[in-house]
């Protein structure tokens, strides 16, 4: 139905209904302020770097500073405005590592990139407050937490420092998140989760302009849940904050490919993360068409190229 029709129905019902409808529509329309000084009226690319020995996509694993510099500069030259650095794998089944080990993994790379004065923001992908505090001291620009900053101490730290954050939705923990995830309907359940989270953060003194949400594709979701999130992505704009999507090289691409091959009676197919680039680009293009402001990817050049071509097709 049209926005006008919805407003008419709401007005006919009650003032409360009309006020809430107007508020939701204004959330959809209002221009997003800059996030960590990035323009949110255009798509932004976040490149992924894993300082881990066990992340699901081996090509994103970096083990020395020389390779880190080369890889980061390539990402920035190819269009990344954020480099996301993580020291702990969050692939399904991954075990938590010690805080000290995580800090030891990420501190030198982040300090090194900061000293190189790279022309992009550096975000820390971590769920440990001590790692966040250590990296904040050396100048990390954004905190990205797959556990959505659920501890009160994290919220207090964010409120005190005013650092921009990315809150991700995940059901359970990486060790058990893919064991029978359950939703009433994933897009609306996750919408409600973020709605409450944003309210809690604002009440704690965090600025709304410092918040980005990530529905967490593949984190405690079935294939059907992930596809429903993509189908209803525009819904999340109603939260009034920018959206980040990361589907790069994830297992849903493999699952869809296998299902199609099985349907055609073919069984042997290599669907390892190295064979999921095209699917990643398809999801990135869909997210861009849904107005998603930040795309998290392992393949910055290819994603940027897809967005450039799409822009000139006036989609």
């Amino acid at each position: 139905m049209s926005t006008q029709e919805l407003l008419k129905v709401a007005k006919k019902h009650s003032n409360t209904s009309l006020t809430e409808t107007e508020f939701q529509i204004s959330n959809l329309v209002n221009k997003r302020p800059t996030f960590a000084k990035l323009d949110m009226s255009k798509p932004n690319i976040m490149g992924v770097i894993n300082i881990t020995p066990d992340s699901f996509y081996k090509n994103s694993q970096i083990h020395n500073l020389k390779k880190l510099k080369k890889y980061s500069y390539e990402m920035i030259n190819n269009g990344a405005s954020i480099i996301d650095i993580g020291g702990e794998s969050s692939r399904p089944g991954a075990e938590k590592i010690s805080r000290l080990e995580e800090i030891n993994r990420v501190i030198e790379p982040i300090r090194y990139l900061k000293n190189c004065k790279v022309k992009s923001l550096i975000s820390l992908d971590s769920r440990n407050l001590s790692t966040m505090k250590t990296c904040y001291k050396i100048g990390v620009d954004i905190l990205n937490d797959i556990s959505a900053f659920k501890e009160r101490s994290k919220i207090e730290f964010i409120s005190k420092t005013n650092i921009p954050i990315i809150i991700m939705h995940m059901q359970n923990e990486p060790t058990n998140m893919q064991i029978n995830p359950k939703y009433s309907f994933a897009p609306t359940d996750i919408y409600n989760f973020f709605s409450k989270k944003i309210t809690d953060f604002i009440e704690a003194g965090v600025k709304k302009s410092n918040i980005v949400i990530d529905p967490g594709i593949g984190f405690g979701k079935t294939l059907s849940d992930n596809l429903n999130i993509f189908k209803y992505l525009p819904l999340f704009h109603g939260l009034g904050v920018p959206i980040l999507i990361g589907a790069s090289r994830k297992s849903l691409i493999g699952e869809l490919t296998i299902n199609d091959y099985k349907f055609r009676g073919k069984n042997k197919i290599d669907i390892s993360p190295s064979k999921r680039l095209s699917g990643s680009l398809a999801f990135a293009i869909h997210a861009n068409m849904c107005g998603v402001q930040i795309l998290r990817t392992h393949d910055v050049f290819e994603t940027n190229q897809a967005l450039i071509c799409q822009k000139y097709l006036h989609l």
Partner: protein, 58 residues
Amino acid sequence: MAFVEKTRYLLAPPYCRSAETFISPILSSPSEILDGLRLAGGWRFFKNLRVLQKKKII
């Protein structure tokens, strides 16, 4: 919990006490929607909404 999607007629008045309401804009390029609304000050536009409603368990 019942889940109902309607694109034309609603299950209940929007944001009333008996049903949760969610609105999802149906997006297009500016060339396809001449008098549409700009989504979040960005590059996509919309005029129509997909309205999702869920009965609340009271």
